[in-house]
């Protein structure tokens, strides 16, 4: 499989605090990599480093062999190829759903507005939100906003999609509708790097699981191995902390 994204020897620190400690990770085309780990382990920071929202102290991130962090060229042309969805949706509150989706394709890719709208409508239809196309974000539920945020990212035809705890801010009954969309995308063969706390979702969607703790990748492997036969004590403990079975 062809490698798309490569993270090599990445170290990120704030002053003395090392958040990511020499992390190596490579993502192949069409692969879904799910990163889990305790809060504050650096998993969200890792995603932010990929998109060059964080300066890194050591190592590099490359997309198709082209270095994107530290970035020499124009960051915006790099970010165009990397879609990102945030925990807090971050739709543009002053724009309708349709405007949210067509803004970047029209302004950045210079796509004809009519074509962009057509594509946006098709995507909205797929996630069951076509009837909301002229609504403003504040008129939508959290789950609806997040689905819009996902299809908004898709409008730029990114090569990699980064999903940063996209269900963490949602009410439990809305988690499903968002995760279903992501599972669909995985089936289509989208390349994704997902940070999440939803372990059952992770298992369903992942091609490869990665466990980060203390700024290091502690363990990685296929979902089956990862959940059924964890090799390290730390991962066992982490997985145990999610199960409530009486001992």
């Amino acid at each position: 499989m062809a490698e798309i994204l490569n993270i090599k020897n990445l170290t990120k620190s704030y002053d003395d605090l090392v958040v990511l400690d020499h992390v190596d990770l490579s993502v192949n085309k069409g692969e879904v990599v799910v990163i889990v780990g305790p809060s504050g382990c650096g998993k969200s920071t890792l995603l932010r480093c990929v998109n060059a929202f964080e300066q890194i102290q050591e190592g590099e991130v490359t997309l198709h062999g082209e270095r994107i962090n530290p970035c020499r060229g124009k960051l915006n042309t790099v970010r165009e190829k990397i879609g990102m969805v945030f925990q807090s949706y971050e739709l543009f509150p002053h724009k309708t759903v349709l405007q949210n989706m067509t803004l970047a394709p029209v302004k950045v890719k210079k796509i004809n507005k009519k074509d962009a709208e057509k594509e946006a409508e098709a995507l909205l239809d797929r996630v069951g939100l076509l009837s909301k196309k002229n609504n403003y974000p504040h008129q939508l539920s959290g789950g609806q906003k997040q689905r819009v945020a996902i299809v908004r990212a898709l409008m730029m035809h990114p090569e990699v999609l980064l999903l940063d705890e996209i269900t963490a801010a949602l009410d439990p009954e809305m988690v499903r509708e968002v995760l279903d969309v992501v599972i669909q995308l995985a089936k289509e063969g989208r390349t994704m790097v997902i940070v999440t706390h939803e372990l059952s979702f992770a298992r369903a969607v992942a091609d490869r699981m990665v466990f980060i703790d203390g700024g290091k990748i502690v363990e990685e492997g296929s979902p089956e191995e990862f959940f059924e036969r964890p090799k390290t004590e730390r991962l066992k403990k982490f997985l145990d902390s999610f199960s409530y079975s009486a001992k």
């Binding site: 970010r79 165009e80 990102m84 945030f86 803004l103 950045v108 908004r152």
Partner: protein, 222 residues
Amino acid sequence: MGFEVLLKGTNMHRLLDGLWVALRISLISVTISIVLGVILGSLMTLKNPVIKVVSKIYLEFIRIMPQMVLLFVVYFGSTKALGLSITAESASIIVFSLWGTAEMSDLVRGALRSIPTIQYESSYSLGLNTAQTYLYIIIPQIIRRMLPLSINLITRMIKTTSLIMMIGIVEVLKVGQQIIEANRKSAPNAAFGIYATIFLLYFLVCWPISLLSKYLEKRWEN
């Protein structure tokens, strides 16, 4: 009641001229305040310690000083102490702009800071560059947040122009007083009618502005 005095000669016309003087001074000051306020407000969001201290002193000074004292200082003070000869109208424009710039900059700063960093990142992650992000994402949101409050400031500035007669500008209130004085014998009760008319004129100017602010606030409530 004194309303009949207004119909005598050019009285009503004079009153409207006076109103225009007040409005002209407010309009010029508001324009200057918006331009300088946006610049200063944006500078204030940079974390430069010098800008921080200077702007803080400036804002506090304007907040504490009564506008009338400021008018006297600039008009009477500057002519005598600095040997500058500025017209009363320029003096009022300076004072009102100083005041407006301070308040506008604070509004701009507040609006800029109220937009979370992640909203910028959300825009960058779609491939928009910095200029596009400001143009399409940040500035429209800032304007929406600021406009109702800035319009409120504009009406306050228009109302406060009634002070400028204290430095000898013949604006609507002064014209009113002159008319009352001139008709003291023939219409001793003119004061009520004249002042009521002035009240109404101020109301007619400020009310639509206030309505506009309410309308925009409602339209942009998201």
